[in-house]
């Protein structure tokens, strides 16, 4: 039995036994290579679940949306390693209770889908350690290094061009599982901290604030980057922030579900080379 069939039948069992109220997985999309989030509420609906190398979205976004878990019931969700990382972060930030989530873990390597062992987040402790030492995608790393080498005015020009494209649709925020604030700082108008206009200056503000709020909280799933309709390379900023917290504080976001969030904790001997 392939992994897709195995997970389908397990999902059907969980639903028919009432163990979970909902299975969040993937279904067929509008084209042959697109997959879309699918919500299965009955064993029959779980027959429509699809699992293949095109299932790249991070479905943890739905766990924090619209009070889904407020009734205390369980939900099953299909997660790749980056999804498991985000779930770890959400649990560490007390947004999700570990016992409410059943995980159908899978990994995609060289277009092969392989199952990940375990159904509860505690089963994935080893995965966190493994991910910490994994190398980031070379394309991201190389592009970030190219920018670093540019010098500050070159980088400013680069981001000015990129941010000038931003239309403030906030797809990056909406797609991100970590952007669960009930009222985002850009939606606060007394005072209006972040300009609502999508001119380059306002776009700088928004993109810097977004990146800062995700520093040390990003699971590098790439949802924001994929969601961006104007192709701003948000992955580069996220990568750079991840690198910073790792180098400065030896912190890898989403490594485990009992981490202290990096910007909500400190060590007395944190580095401070830049402070006069």
């Amino acid at each position: 039995m392939g992994i897709q069939e195995q997970y389908r039948s397990e999902a059907a069992e969980l639903l028919s036994s009432g163990e979970v109220k909902l299975v969040i997985g993937f279904g067929a999309g509008s084209t042959a290579d697109r997959r879309r989030p699918l919500f299965a509420r009955t064993p029959e609906e779980s027959e429509k679940l699809v699992l293949d190398q095109n299932c790249i979205a991070n479905l943890t976004t739905y766990l924090v949306a619209g009070g889904l878990l407020t009734d205390g019931k369980k939900v099953a969700v299909f997660l790749k390693p980056d999804g498991i990382r985000s779930l770890n972060i959400l649990i560490a930030e007390s947004q999700v209770k570990a016992e409410q989530v059943v995980i159908f873990g899978f990994a995609i390597e060289n277009n092969e889908v392989t199952p990940l062992e375990g159904r509860s987040i505690s089963d994935f402790a080893k995965l966190g350690e493994k991910l910490r030492t994994a190398t980031p995608p070379p394309s991201v790393q190389e592009e970030a290094e190219r920018l670093e080498a540019m010098g500050s005015s070159g980088r400013f020009e680069y981001w000015k061009e990129q941010f000038s494209k931003c239309i403030k649709c906030y797809a990056c925020r909406q797609a991100c599982p970590m952007c669960y604030c009930r009222r985002c700082i850009v939606d606060v108008n007394q005072p209006q901290w972040v300009s609502t206009s999508s001119h380059t200056l306002g776009n700088f503000e928004w993109n810097l604030v977004r990146a800062f709020h995700l520093a040390g909280r990003c699971a590098a799933c790439g949802a924001c980057d994929r969601a961006c309709p104007v192709n701003i390379p948000l992955r580069l900023i996220n990568y750079r922030m991840g690198k910073e917290v790792k180098e400065a504080f030896d912190y890898f976001a989403g490594e485990s579900s009992d981490q202290n969030p990096v910007l909500a904790s400190f060590r007395q001997d944190d580095p401070e080379t830049f402070i006069l």
């Binding site: 670093e148 005015s153 980088r155 200056l201 810097l208 520093a215 400065a248 006069l276």
Partner: protein, 149 residues
């Protein structure tokens, strides 16, 4: 850079240490560059990165953020939290091309009036060398004209 450029420096300081330090500099009749505008806040932990961005947008050429030495925070740990935040925020600014030389961080205690005066002089001198921070100011100017569309 022409001699006439007088940089604007905005200093976000905590009230318990650095502000008291600045006060001491004043009462000790220490002379320091008049280019700094001090914004007093309860604690460095209260200094949001938004403040820094807004200061740059509104025409600051350099920003100083200063508070109590580690271990001296009036609220026990505000400056430790701030330190982590600055580390990250500094990296973010640097990566997006906002020159990190323009954002300075320091610890100045209530007893360090002389350090405060020296620091301001030093930042003023260095900012003079850097010249005005035009990148953000140009963006600000751009939004005041009707789009070319």
């Amino acid at each position: 850079m022409s001699e006439s450029f007088e940089p604007k420096i905005v200093a976000f300081v905590c009230t318990y240490c650095t502000y008291a330090g600045a006060d001491l500099a004043g009462t000790s009749r220490l002379k320091y560059a008049p280019n700094v505008r001090i914004v007093r806040l309860p604690c460095t932990g209260r200094i949001s990165p938004m403040f820094i961005l807004k200061a740059l947008q509104k025409g600051a050429d350099s920003v100083l953020v200063s508070g109590c030495h580690p271990g001296d925070c009036h609220f026990a740990a505000g400056n430790y939290h701030a330190r982590r935040r600055w580390t990250v925020f500094r990296a973010l600014l640097a990566f997006t091309g906002i020159p990190e030389e323009r954002i300075r961080f320091s610890w100045v205690s209530a007893a360090e009036g002389a350090k405060f005066a020296d620091l301001i002089n030093e930042i003023t001198e260095e900012t003079k060398k850097l010249g005005p921070f035009t990148q953000y100011q140009e963006l600000q100017k751009a939004i005041e004209t009707q789009s070319s569309y």
